[in-house]
C-alpha cells in the first residue's frame, strides 16, 4: 500500500473515531470533502474500510441496504489483534448487540460454535476487559454480555428503580406516598408540578427522570386513587379521589377466605360455617384456636 493510501486510511479512521457512533459512507465522503477540499471516490472509501476491517479497527454492518461503519479505539484494536478468529467472532456478536446485551445461548446460535468454545471465548474477552457480564432483571439466571465500556439499557438492568439488579420497592413506595401527599393538598394539580415536587425530593432518593416519575404516577391510576385527564389547554391534570368508597362487602369473611373451597355444610368436617373461626371473629364471638 502506498503512502497516499495509508494516509487516506488514517484520515478515514480519524473521521470515524471523531464521529463515535456508526457512520455511513456518504457521511464519510461529505466530512472528508469538507476537511480536505477534495472529493473522495467511493472505491477508495470501500478500499480503506476493508483495510480497517481486516486490521480489526472497525466494524461494518449493512442496515436497510446502507453500509455503516464504526471505528474502534486504538487500545481496543490492539487487544483485538491478539485474539483468535473464534474469539474475535464472539466479540463482534457482542458488539452488534450494543446495549441490549446478548446471552450465551444466542451467541451459540449466531456463531454456530460449540458451547465450550463460546464459554472459553467469553471468559477470555472478559479477562481482556473487552466485554463484561450484566444481570438481566427479568431472568436472573441468564448471563448476558455487553461491551466493556458500554452501559446496559434499562430493559436489561432496569433503570433508576433497580439497585444491583433488584427492584427498589421502598423508593417507589416513598415516591407514591409523596405524590399522594402533594395531591391531598393540591388536588387537580398538573402533572408537571407533581413531577417537579418529586424531583425536589431527589436529594434523599436519588435522581429520577420525568418519564420515570410519570410511571410511578400511573401506578396510582391503576389503583383508582387518581385520574389523569386533559383540561381545556390540553394540559395533563391529576384528580385525586379522596373518598375511599368501597363497593358492597368490606369485612365479610367468606370473600377473603383462603379455605373457602374446602368449606362444607357437613358439620362432621372441621371447616363449616357453623363452627367457622373467621365467622366467630366477624360476629365478635370468642375465637378458640
Amino acid at each position: 500500500m502506498d503512502d497516499i493510501k495509508k494516509q487516506l486510511v488514517r484520515d478515514i479512521y480519524k473521521i470515524g473515531l471523531e464521529h463515535k457512533d456508526y457512520i455511513n459512507i456518504e457521511q464519510i465522503e461529505e466530512i472528508y470533502e469538507k476537511k480536505k477540499n477534495t472529493k473522495l471516490k467511493r472505491s477508495d472509501v470501500v478500499y480503506c474500510l476493508n483495510i480497517l476491517e481486516n486490521a480489526r479497527a472497525c466494524s461494518i454492518k449493512n442496515e436497510n441496504n446502507t453500509i455503516t461503519t464504526k471505528m474502534r479505539c486504538e487500545e481496543m484494536t490492539k487487544k483485538l489483534k491478539g485474539l483468535s478468529d473464534i474469539d474475535f467472532l464472539i466479540f463482534t456478536k457482542v458488539e452488534n448487540s450494543q446495549n441490549n446485551g446478548i446471552w450465551t445461548a444466542d451467541l451459540r446460535k449466531q456463531t454456530k460454535l460449540l458451547i465450550h468454545q463460546v464459554q472459553k471465548g467469553v471468559k477470555l474477552l472478559c479477562e481482556h476487559k473487552l466485554i463484561k457480564q450484566v444481570n438481566n432483571i427479568h431472568v436472573k439466571n441468564r448471563k448476558m454480555y455487553i461491551l466493556y465500556d458500554l452501559e446496559a439499557s434499562d430493559k436489561v438492568i432496569g433503570g433508576s428503580f433497580y439497585t444491583d439488579g433488584e427492584f427498589n420497592q421502598k423508593v417507589v413506595d416513598y415516591i407514591r406516598e409523596n405524590i399522594s401527599f402533594y395531591l391531598c393538598n393540591n388536588n387537580n394539580a398538573n402533572v408537571t408540578s407533581v413531577i417537579n415536587y418529586i424531583k425536589n425530593l431527589n436529594n434523599t432518593i436519588g435522581y429520577f427522570s420525568d418519564s420515570e416519575i410519570y410511571r410511578v404516577i400511573k401506578t396510582l391510576c391503576f389503583e383508582n386513587k387518581i385520574k389523569i385527564y386533559k383540561n381545556n389547554n390540553d394540559e395533563e391534570m391529576i384528580y385525586s379521589y379522596n373518598n375511599d368508597k368501597k363497593i358492597g362487602f368490606t369485612n365479610f369473611p367468606c370473600f377473603s377466605c383462603d379455605i373457602f373451597n374446602k368449606c362444607n355444610f357437613d358439620t362432621k368436617t372441621s371447616i363449616n360455617p357453623k363452627t367457622c373461626l373467621y365467622m366467630n371473629f366477624y360476629l365478635n364471638l370468642e375465637v378458640i384456636l
Binding site: 410511571r215 401506578t219 391503576f222 368449606c263
Partner: protein, 534 residues
C-alpha cells in the same frame, strides 16, 4: 344448577315454607320436571302432601306446570325465582321509599301470599295500617286503593295470567291443567272497583297467638261470605320492574361516585323518562333530546340549559360511556348505555373483590391487565412497578383463583414453551360467573350460621317469648308495676346480654345477606345481558 345454588334454594324453601314444601321443591330443582306420582314416589311423601306442597309452590310462582302430549302434567321448579326470595326485604324497602308504608305493606302482602286479588290486598293492608294507628283512627280503603293503582301504573305490580273466558258450545272433557294467559294490554289494568270501607282493628284473642307465623295462621276468607268483586283477577309483584329500578339506582349511584350529585340527577332524570318506554333487557334507553331532559329535571335543580349541555357532553365523553350521544337534533340526542353501565359495575365489583381478597397491589395488576387487555409477565412487572418475584406470585395466585387467564400465542406449531408467548388476560364474563358462584355459597353459609345461632339459643328465645307473652297479658289485665318487674326478672342479666348478642349477630348476618345479594344482582344482570348479546 350448581351444588351451591341447590343448597341455597333448599335453605330458602325450608325457611319460608317448612320441611315438606322444601323437600318437594329441592327434589324438583335437582331432577327437573316431573309428574305428580313420580314426585310422591321419589320423595317418599304421600300424594296429598305433595299436592299441598305443589299448591304452595305454584301459588308463589316457584313451580310451573305444563301439559305434555300424552296428557301428563309435569311440574318444574323455577330455581332463579326461588333465589329471588333473598331479595324480598329489598323489594319491600324500595316500595316503602317510593310509596311509603301503604305501598310497603301492599308489596309485602303480595310477596307473602304469592298472588292476591286487589280487594283482598286492600282489606289486609287497611287492617294492618289501622292496627298501627292511634285509637279511634282508621285507614280508608280508598287511600290504599289509590296506592295500589299507582303501583300498577308504574308496573311494580302486575296481573297474573288467568284462565281465558271462552264461549264453547261444545264443552268436551276439561283439560288436565288449565292454560293461563294474559293480554299484555291488560297486564297493568286495574279493574274499576268501588272498595268502600275502613280498616278494622284485630281484637286480642286466642286466635292471635304470639309467635305463630303468618303462613300457618288460619285463613279468614272462608268466614266472609260476600262475593269478591274482582274474583279471578289476581295480582303479583312484578320483580322485573324492581330489578329495573335497582339497576337504575346502581347506575345513578355510580355516576354520583364518579362525578358529582348534579350529573347523577341528570342521569336519574333520563332513566326516569325511559322507565316505561324502554324494556328491561334493552341495551340502550330511547334517545332523549337535551331539551326534553331540561324540561324534566326536578324543580329544585336550577341549572341553566347551557350547564346541562356541558354536563351531558362531559358524561358522553367519559371513558366509562354510561351516556352516549346518538344525534344532534333537539339540542343533542342522548342515550344511557345500559349494558356498558352494567359491565362497568360488574368490573368494579370484581376489582373490589380482588382488592379485599389479595390486597391493593394485586388490584393494581388486575386493573392494569383489564386496561391493557393482554400483557406478558415482564410487561406487568414494568407497568405495575412491582418486583418480578412478587408480581409473578400475585399473577399465579389470581390465575389459580380464576380471576385471570392465560392466552398462549405459539411462534411455532409445536407450542414449545420457550417459543410461545404467554399473555395474561381478564375474561370478565367467566370471572363474574366464578364470583357469582362464590356469592351463592357465601349466602348459604350466612343462612346456615344464622339458623345455627338461633338454634343454639332456642331455649332462651322460647323463654323470652313466654315472658313477653305473660307481661303482655298482665298489662292487659292492669297488673302493677312491681308484678311486671318480677316477671321481667325471670330473665337474668347474663341471659339478657346473651339475647342482645344473639339479636346483634342475627341482624349482622341478615345485613350481610342483603349486601351479598346486591352483588349477586349486579353480577346476574351483567351475565344475563352479555349472554343475550352473544
Amino acid at each position: 344448577m350448581t351444588q351451591a345454588e341447590i343448597k341455597l334454594c333448599s335453605l330458602l324453601l325450608q325457611e319460608h315454607f317448612g320441611e315438606i314444601v322444601g323437600k318437594i321443591g329441592v327434589h324438583l330443582i335437582r331432577t327437573g320436571s316431573q309428574p305428580l306420582r313420580v314426585i310422591a314416589h321419589d320423595t317418599g311423601t304421600s300424594l296429598d302432601q305433595v299436592k299441598k306442597a305443589l299448591c304452595v309452590l305454584i301459588q308463589h310462582n316457584l313451580v310451573s306446570y305444563q301439559v305434555h302430549k300424552r296428557g301428563v302434567v309435569e311440574y318444574e321448579a323455577q330455581c332463579s325465582r326461588v333465589l329471588r326470595m333473598l331479595r324480598y326485604p329489598r323489594y319491600i324497602y324500595t316500595t316503602k321509599t317510593l310509596y311509603s308504608d301503604t305501598g310497603e305493606l301492599i308489596v309485602e302482602e303480595l310477596l307473602l301470599n304469592g298472588k292476591l286479588t286487589m280487594s283482598a290486598v286492600v282489606k289486609k293492608v287497611a287492617d294492618r295500617l289501622t292496627e298501627t294507628m292511634e285509637d279511634g283512627k282508621t285507614m280508608d280503603y280508598a287511600e290504599v286503593s289509590n296506592t295500589f293503582v299507582r303501583l300498577a301504573d308504574t308496573h311494580f305490580v302486575q296481573r297474573c295470567p288467568s284462565v281465558p273466558t271462552t264461549e264453547n258450545s261444545d264443552p268436551g272433557p276439561p283439560p288436565p291443567a288449565p292454560t293461563l294467559v294474559i293480554n299484555e294490554k291488560d297486564m297493568y289494568l286495574v279493574p274499576k272497583l268501588s272498595l268502600i270501607g275502613k280498616g278494622k282493628r284485630r281484637r286480642s284473642s286466642d286466635e292471635d297467638a304470639a309467635g305463630e307465623p303468618k303462613a300457618k295462621r288460619p285463613k279468614h276468607t272462608t268466614d266472609n261470605k260476600e262475593p269478591i268483586p274482582d274474583d279471578g283477577i289476581y295480582w303479583q309483584a312484578n320483580l322485573d320492574r324492581f330489578h329495573q329500578h335497582f339497576r337504575d339506582q346502581a347506575i345513578v349511584s355510580a355516576v354520583a361516585n364518579r362525578m358529582d350529585q348534579t350529573s347523577s340527577e341528570i342521569v336519574r332524570t333520563m332513566l326516569r323518562m325511559s322507565e316505561i318506554t324502554t324494556s328491561s333487557s334493552a341495551p340502550f334507553t330511547q334517545p332523549l333530546s337535551s331539551n326534553e331532559i331540561f324540561r324534566s329535571l326536578p324543580v329544585g335543580y336550577n341549572i341553566s340549559k347551557q350547564v346541562l349541555d356541558q354536563y351531558l357532553t362531559l358524561l358522553a365523553d367519559d371513558p366509562l360511556e354510561f351516556v352516549g350521544k346518538s344525534g344532534d337534533s333537539g339540542g343533542g340526542m342522548y342515550v344511557i348505555n345500559l349494558h356498558k353501565a352494567l359491565a362497568s359495575l360488574a368490573t368494579a365489583t370484581l376489582e373490589s373483590v380482588v382488592q379485599e381478597r389479595f390486597g391493593s397491589r394485586c388490584a393494581r395488576i388486575f386493573r392494569l391487565v383489564l386496561q391493557k387487555k393482554h400483557l406478558e409477565q415482564k410487561q406487568v412487572e414494568d407497568f405495575a412497578m412491582i418486583p418480578a418475584k412478587e408480581a409473578k406470585d400475585m399473577l399465579y395466585k389470581m390465575l389459580s383463583e380464576n380471576f385471570m387467564s392465560l392466552q398462549e400465542i405459539p411462534k411455532t406449531p409445536d407450542h414449545a414453551p420457550s417459543r410461545t408467548f404467554y399473555l395474561y388476560t381478564v375474561n370478565i364474563l367467566s370471572a363474574a360467573r366464578m364470583l357469582l358462584h362464590r356469592c351463592y355459597k357465601s349466602i348459604a353459609n350466612l343462612i346456615e350460621r344464622r339458623q345455627f345461632e338461633t338454634k343454639e339459643n332456642k331455649r332462651l328465645l322460647e323463654k323470652s317469648q313466654r315472658v313477653e307473652a305473660i307481661i303482655a297479658s298482665m298489662q292487659a289485665t292492669g297488673a302493677e308495676e312491681a308484678q311486671l318487674q318480677e316477671i321481667e326478672e325471670m330473665i337474668t342479666a347474663p341471659e339478657r346480654q346473651q339475647l342482645e348478642t344473639l339479636k346483634r349477630n342475627v341482624n349482622k348476618l341478615d345485613a350481610s345477606e342483603i349486601q351479598v345479594d346486591e352483588t349477586i344482582f349486579l353480577l346476574e344482570s351483567y351475565i344475563e345481558c352479555t349472554t343475550k348479546r352473544q
